[in-house]
Symmetry: C2
Subunit: 359 residues, 2 copies
Amino acid sequence: MSRTSGQVHIIGAGLLGTSIGLTLSNLGLDVSLEDSSPAVTKLAIDFGAGRELKETDLVSIVVVCVPPDVTADTVISALTRFPNAVVTDVASVKSSVLEAITAGNADTSRYVGSHPMAGREKGGALSGRPDLFVGRPWVIAVEATTVATAAEQIEKLALDLGASPIRMSAAEHDRAVALVSHAPQVISSLLAARLVDGLDEDLALAGQGLRDTTRIAASDPKLWLQILVANSEALLPVLSHFSEDLNKLIVSLQEVESAGALSVIAKTLEAGNQGIARIPGKHGSRNTAYASLVVMIDDKPGELARLLNEIGHAGLNIEDLKLDHAAGAQVGLVELSVLPKIEAALIELLATKGWKLAG
Amino acid sequence: MSRTSGQVHIIGAGLLGTSIGLTLSNLGLDVSLEDSSPAVTKLAIDFGAGRELKETDLVSIVVVCVPPDVTADTVISALTRFPNAVVTDVASVKSSVLEAITAGNADTSRYVGSHPMAGREKGGALSGRPDLFVGRPWVIAVEATTVATAAEQIEKLALDLGASPIRMSAAEHDRAVALVSHAPQVISSLLAARLVDGLDEDLALAGQGLRDTTRIAASDPKLWLQILVANSEALLPVLSHFSEDLNKLIVSLQEVESAGALSVIAKTLEAGNQGIARIPGKHGSRNTAYASLVVMIDDKPGELARLLNEIGHAGLNIEDLKLDHAAGAQVGLVELSVLPKIEAALIELLATKGWKLAG
């Protein structure tokens, strides 16, 4: 079943290490793991993420899943400890890690950096999930000097974990994540920081927009401090451009009567529209267009099941479903996303069965 | 049933006007409506949001649901056209509207501004939903000069629509929405604007963090230009503080070796943690804690129904449900949120029935 063969050893049993261990163990692979904390090692083993490492083990692949600031040292030591293994890491920054490893006197022909674009706000072994990487991009950092067979082994590992491997250089990776991950983190944190001094009665008006824009501000400051510092070179141009745009907007709002001011504000909002249109769809394509229907159901056990039962009996497949539950209301709103080609059939079915469509 | 009595007339049949009309009509109230576009008026009437206005009508309440830049003029004209009615509006800014109405020579004793904290990215009559306001804050803008009975009538209207009325002055309202709504809109648009020049391969790494932080950047630029300009006075201090914080962070990232630089970055991230902790929970309380379980199901018609059927048969009620559908994978992930008191029963049921829990 699996593309990977041989024993996989995981160093660091946090969210990523544990999730990798769970999936590979489920595939029947021989997985060992260790964490600097013996208690965490034991927890992850109990959790089913792998077994303890034995002195006689012949490890084929080592996956280093430790915080960014100790990643390079851990990789260097792993290259020495496991002289026949290909070693990868999963840190969110790749250039600075690669530089430190190259500077350390290690056999870098067996090292291939990587980065799964997956995570949760909650860290730790118990947050590990076997599906964490399914459908997610997994960057395989390849340089001119990378040994092809080593890169292929890490690529197969990513495929076994359900991810979509993408090859790019460490520098390309760092530029990409500065834009799509690190800048959003900084901006979200700065926006949430504005709330610290807000009045309770002001915050009582918070809606979904504020919640969405600030959700990732709940992330771990210790981890993100390391990431931002390690990728400052790629991140700074994005933040500087943002700052210039913001300051232009502030000046325009200060003098809305002056020539061109309204145009600056309108263009900012329009650029936002254009930017968001460039984000690939949930399933990877740029134009995933599902048809979406909202059905009102009574808020009681079994109603949603009855709805989905009738849809299932008709052989219609639902791509996405969101249940929205209004406070105090006796109705729930079920948003069903389906392929456009079955939308008409679904509408007809719902009407026949007496379901109420909202909106 | 309803607290409101008499005929309600709605001016402007967009998302808000139509949603108000639908709910009040469902309650059995006599609702008339008009839109500057006769086609839109007809559409909203067909949709069930009300009937056409007749010359002989005696209107009790007028709800002005037009764009912010024409709100004041429409309110002034409504006060003249409907000499016995209390008039409210639902614009996202309140001080500038109030000033313009006060400056216009109208009977302001019958005017009470208001603002429902509800909306969708999609506008228009067909996006109207009878549940749009359920559980949402609805600001009733009261000043020292506001006539108590008039404010009470608008408060009852908000309650009939399922909203939670909150009294504050126009100035207090504008300060609050600058922080929790208008600043997030600006920041989200500016962040999304950074993507316009991004490379396709960089954007391919986009994850949920980027999607959440930029979601509201898809909002209507024409509407938001009006809102930002109308509320620039309250918005500018928030944006200026943000800009100062951002610039401090940029300087620290440029010189991470200098004294205090790391501390500035760490404090920014920690302030983000503190800020997000101040946002009240989805249902208005600060600590809505649902227990959350993730079940893996096969991706075929009827599987979700079977799951929910079994939960429904056991008499267990689901508060929220999210179906996540991994690209290319033959499994779906169903996140079930339930009241903590039934979590154990649900886990037992799922195990008995052979469902796989993820994570």
